[in-house]
Amino acid sequence: MEKELVVVTAMGLDRTGIVASISSILAENRVNIEDISQTILGKYFAMIMLVDITNSKVSLEKLQQHLVKRGEEMGLEVKVQHENVFKAMHRV
């Protein structure tokens, strides 16, 4: 079965526990991390994950809500977007 991939980005001031915190929500919901990348932009931190929601216990909307809420608690801006938008914009 083809995987349904979603891009999770978390941006904010660098601090410990960001990756752990986001990952734990993904694990709780049976969302598999396919890949992860971190970039430092000045004093800001950007974490980008490609995750597979094919076996997710919750809908994409619910997952978005959980992650955005956790981000807010940590002072992060979290975006959860289906990968197709990146494929459309950056691949011919």
Binding site: I48, K79, A88
Partner: protein, 460 residues
């Protein structure tokens, strides 16, 4: 395995959405109402209401779900219907006032249906009169002031000229009177914001106030309007020292990216709604959000103040590059696909007016190559109806002769003089009243009749 997308690409998309206001400006569901025609006005209203509320029931909810799936905002959800004058004939009587009252009833029914499904505008209170007017067309145009004063969401458009047929001056005169009367019936003339008169109107335009679902269309279709001055402005700011052709290349690339996002979203929305995906309209349309101004992008490219020399050239290059990039990204491009210099909706245009660099005449000049016409232009409330007809005739003939769409959406603001400030509120913005020549083309417009269709060769 490395990330399928480079972090740079992902962050670029996010920056385009969050900082540069990339969005899908409108998704507009076209609905064919021809089957609702009926000689019994109550039955016709019932059929129209049912058809719209059932076909568009899921539009807003589905659009919101897709918006959140991709993280790209869909700003407006709208409906366009078959030009209403085509439906009216069987329900009209020999009495003009009675017929107008029936037309108004149909208009109010469309307004109710639109509000029921939570769209902010419904377009199609329209008549196609570029050659001549039927009884129903005349009734519809004459009912416009009452209709716009009595509805909230309904938009009206009149096709008064085309390259194939010429310009119908009798229709232009009727519309000019309707504009003037609409202004007097609505606060600050705001009703005129929902009325537009066209030359060569596209039948699949998703943008308001000019959207209608043309007679060449099928049962339904979803059309998507893209804009994105903010994204283009960012390209210009990142490339301050590039030559014009290098700049055009950069804008083409950006045009491709934003259109691909629109194509993805439109196609999925159409599929989920079970309708045909129509076209993508590649336009540059301003909003009052900071950075989302067409005037500012012209200034970013190097024109001292919008409307000053160089503005037409800059704007022509910009929209041409957007379209060249977009055309490869979209399956079907249509609609207006031009620049909207919506004066009251563009913060940069307001500043240009205040500095004195922008005039009605320059707006007209820009419409000959790239803009869609005179849009959201406030003029003095005491402008004679013949001058309004003359302004419309000039603008529409530019479209007729150049084989392009041109349009006029003009607001003679009651009790306001040139230079005074007017606030339309919300999406419609605010403006300074623009001066109109004191010389009136009375005799020209009173001649009436039709300006014949033009030659298409020997065209200098």
């Amino acid at each position: 395995m490395p990330l399928v997308y480079a972090p740079k690409e992902i962050l670029e998309t996010i920056r385009m959405i969050t900082v540069q206001n990339l969005d899908v400006r409108t998704v507009t569901l076209g609905i064919n109402l021809r089957e609702c025609c009926d000689s019994d006005i109550d039955r016709m209203k019932e059929k129209i209401y049912l058809k719209i509320t059932s076909e568009a029931e899921g539009l807003v909810q589905t659009a919101n779900r897709i918006q959140s799936k991709y993280g790209v905002p869909i700003i407006n959800k709208r409906i366009a219907v078959t030009p209403v004058s085509l439906l009216l004939s069987p329900a009209l009587t020999r009495n003009l006032e009675e017929s107008k009252a029936r037309a108004v009833e149909v208009a109010k029914c469309l307004d109710r249906a639109a509000r029921k499904v939570n769209v902010n505008f419904i377009g199609g209170y329209s008549a196609i009169v570029y050659k001549d007017m039927s009884c129903a067309d005349r009734v519809l145009i004459e009912s416009i002031p009452q209709v716009l004063a009595g509805t909230e969401t309904l938009c009206s458009s009149i096709m008064a000229a085309s390259t194939k047929a010429g310009l119908n001056m009798d229709a232009v005169n009727l519309v000019a009177r309707a504009i003037k009367e609409t202004a007097s019936r609505t606060s600050d003339g705001i009703g005129c914001c929902r009325l537009v008169v066209f030359a060569n109107a596209p039948e699949d335009n998703p943008f308001m106030a000019g959207a209608f679902f043309g007679i060449g269309e099928g049962d339904n279709a979803l059309n998507v309007g893209l804009s994105g001055p903010g994204v283009i402005k960012a390209v210009l700011e990142e490339n301050r020292n590039q030559s014009l052709n290098e700049l055009a290349e950069e804008i083409k690339k950006m045009g491709f990216k934003i259109t691909r996002a629109g194509q993805l979203i439109g196609k999925e929305l159409a599929k989920d709604l079970g309708v045909r995906f129509g076209i993508i309209d590649l336009s540059l349309a301003p909003t009052m959000i900071a950075g989302d101004s067409v005037a500012e992008i012209v200034e970013s490219i190097g024109v001292e103040s919008f409307g000053a020399p160089g503005s037409t050239a800059a704007l022509a290059m910009l929209i041409d590059a957007v379209k060249k990039g977009g055309i490869m990204a979209a399956e079907n491009v249509g609609g207006l696909s031009g620049v909207f210099i919506s004066v009251s909706e563009d913060a940069g245009a307001l500043r240009a007016l205040e500095r004195g660099s922008l005039s009605l005449e320059k707006l007209e000049a820009m419409s000959s190559v790239c803009s869609v016409g005179l849009d959201m232009v406030a003029i003095p409330g005491d402008t004679p109806v013949e001058s309004i007809a003359g302004i419309i005739a000039d603008e529409l003939m530019i479209g007729v002769m150049n084989n392009k769409t041109t349009a006029v959406r003009i607001i003679p603001v009651p009790n306001r003089k040139a230079g005074e400030y007017v606030e339309f509120g919300g999406l419609l913005g605010s403006s300074r009243v623009m001066p109109v020549s004191r010389f009136v083309p009375r005799k020209l417009v009173q001649r009436g009749g039709r300006i014949p269709a033009p030659m298409r060769s020997l065209n200098n």
